[in-house]
Symmetry: C2
Subunit: 335 residues, 2 copies
DNA sequence: AAATCAGAGCTAAACGTTTCGCGATTGAAG
DNA sequence: CTTCAATCGCGAAACGTTTAGCTCTGATTT
């Protein structure tokens, strides 16, 4: 059906080997070069990437595995990964595992079986064993957003601890003393780190933590909604709340609207991640902003670097800084 | 490095052909079956999909091309496409073209060169020529969300005309007579269809359209923001506004918040698409909801059907219904 | 007992490339 | 005019599968 390298050889009278050489940037006589190019045009020849892959043992494809497709934080990262990869001639096979740790393993294996040249993963469950096994086979692998204990591997993280520290410090320096936190579940790396920041800043300011102000959600909209309600129904509600991810921030805002809580007069709020959301709620929300573009870029470049065989400072551990975007959802209680 | 079918043959003492037969579901003696399975386990053998692809001329991969990665409408569709495909053993190569019609062609060719078994595309520019060329080569191709003039091809659409009709009719029957619309650009199929609905319902109710109430945006946040401001700065502003996509709805809400427009007392609002957003704004927004899950499923199933060679009622044209989700952002002006 | 047949396994070619090692050609150097 | 190195092209093997068509075995039929 489609023209092959053989057809080009026949058309030009040259051998297959010479055509292949040309295709891969080798030197051919000027005269032959023109001839080959003419043939390629005339026959509409395209390299068969599969056949090439069989010989070279490369698929020019990177597998990307994320927890959930309907999560803007993840898809934004993926978007930036893809930008970098495609510029380098690589394509992306994208999978999500719907926050299901069994599915996570399955999809991971799926990617491995697809013989991708590298994998970028935002891990969740105890997939460490699988990953180590692949690392042994020398397939480049990059962890994003969450570290995995006991796995020696390039990792791109956000400095979650300091993100929380700065957010809560912002509240403390404005006079808040009862600060609620809506935190994520124990099994997620970022949740724990973000909670740590909350704890540490309390220590540094010699403030005792009231455990009833620490609400544990599931990182989804519903739990954000529930936790905010719980906080507001306390006998002595907090004067401020810090919510540690995007979905729960959404849920919390829903609850705030329904309860007619006045922000920031009744409650100061610091949320997470989404710039647009921050602007469409009233008043505009002070939020922690993660460097999603950077995360994607660094992840992609790291995997490309390893594929090229550059193993300098392996395993690398990058920690990117967040930013506290200050808007009008925090009240200054001083004076 | 990795075990091949040859190694399995050697291990079992059988021939390559028999192993291959087993792998592809052929009959082998019970005794040999066990032996082969043991060998596969012992050698950790995995089929080399690339080699297989070379023989079968299949990559078991579907290309998906969307306008923009940072758009929840598109990514939700992709998510549902991927669900269906992976269940059928296919993987997805995902690209976006950042709303750039040149990039659109490039990425389309990229997918073709990757020799995907089928393509699902949400088109924008004049890519019709390219698509027709591929259709001639019999590669299954499904258009989503936007029809392409002059291209005979399976197409999955949303009934945009009626979506608009119903939304605006909802406003009319509640006594609104000056209804603004923030519409998308001319070169986008859905924009035009949505505008048509607005026009037709006006006709059906014998209402004249005030052209100054029709604001043309670019389907992005900024233009929604700008258009809403323009509407409110008119000498006689509309009593209601209908915004025809998600991003512009976001922008419009930002403007509403900044101007301190009271919804629905100063202005009734109907937006588009996102359920979460609808709930986090105050009051909850009445919106047009598109059946994104369904779109993805139908698109994936259609491409799979064609790949299997089932060409029944080709080209198929599916039009899915939207829903008007009624909340509290529309005021009843009657008596 | 001969003829027939089904089922299982095997041989070998093929898919479209890359690449190794060799031969041919050319032009410069001696 | 010979030699040598450099350059370019070629033949052939290889990558790991699938598959058409054949052989072999043993059971069934007549």
């Amino acid at each position: 059906m489609a023209a092959t390298i053989k057809d080009v050889a026949k058309y030009t009278g040259l051998s297959i080997a010479t055509i292949s050489k040309y295709l891969n940037g080798g030197n051919v006589l000027e005269e032959n070069r023109k001839l080959i190019e003419e043939a390629i045009r005339a026959l509409d020849f395209k390299v068969n990437e599969i056949a090439r892959g069989l010989k070279t043992n490369k698929t020019m494809t990177i597998g990307v595995l994320i927890p959930d497709f309907n999560n803007l934080f993840f898809t934004t990262i993926v978007s930036n990964i893809e930008n970098v990869l495609i510029k380098n001639g690589y394509s992306t096979i994208l999978c999500d595992y719907k926050n299901d740790i069994e599915l996570e393993k399955e999809k991971f294996n799926f990617l491995v079986n697809k013989q991708v040249d590298g994998i970028i993963i935002i891990p969740q469950g105890d997939i460490g064993g699988y990953i180590k096994e692949q690392l042994k086979k020398n397939i480049p692998l990059v962890l994003v957003d969450r570290a995995l204990e006991d796995v020696e591997c390039d990792t791109i993280l956000v400095d979650n601890m300091n993100a929380s520290y700065n957010a809560v410090e912002h509240l403390i320096t404005r006079g808040h003393r009862r600060i609620g936190i809506i935190r994520g579940p124990d099994n997620i790396f970022t949740s724990i780190e973000r909670l740590k920041g909350y704890i540490r800043v309390h220590k540094d300011y010699s403030m005792k933590i009231d455990e009833s102000l620490v609400k544990k959600g599931d990182n989804d909209v519903e739990s954000g909604y529930r936790c905010l309600n719980e906080l507001m129904e306390m006998d002595v509600p907090p004067t401020a709340v810090y919510i540690t991810n995007y979905e729960m921030t959404l849920g919390a805002i829903m609850a705030i609207n329904e309860r007619n809580v006045k922000v920031p007069d009744d409650l100061s709020v610091i949320g997470f991640d989404n710039l647009h959301i921050a602007r469409i709620v009233k008043p505009p929300l002070t939020i922690v902003v993660q460097p999603m573009e950077q995360i994607g870029e660094v992840a992609a470049n790291t995997v490309l670097k390893r594929i090229k065989g550059d193993m300098s400072n392996y395993p690398s551990m990058v920690r990117l800084k967040t930013e506290l975007m200050i808007n009008q959802s925090v009240k200054d209680l001083r004076g």
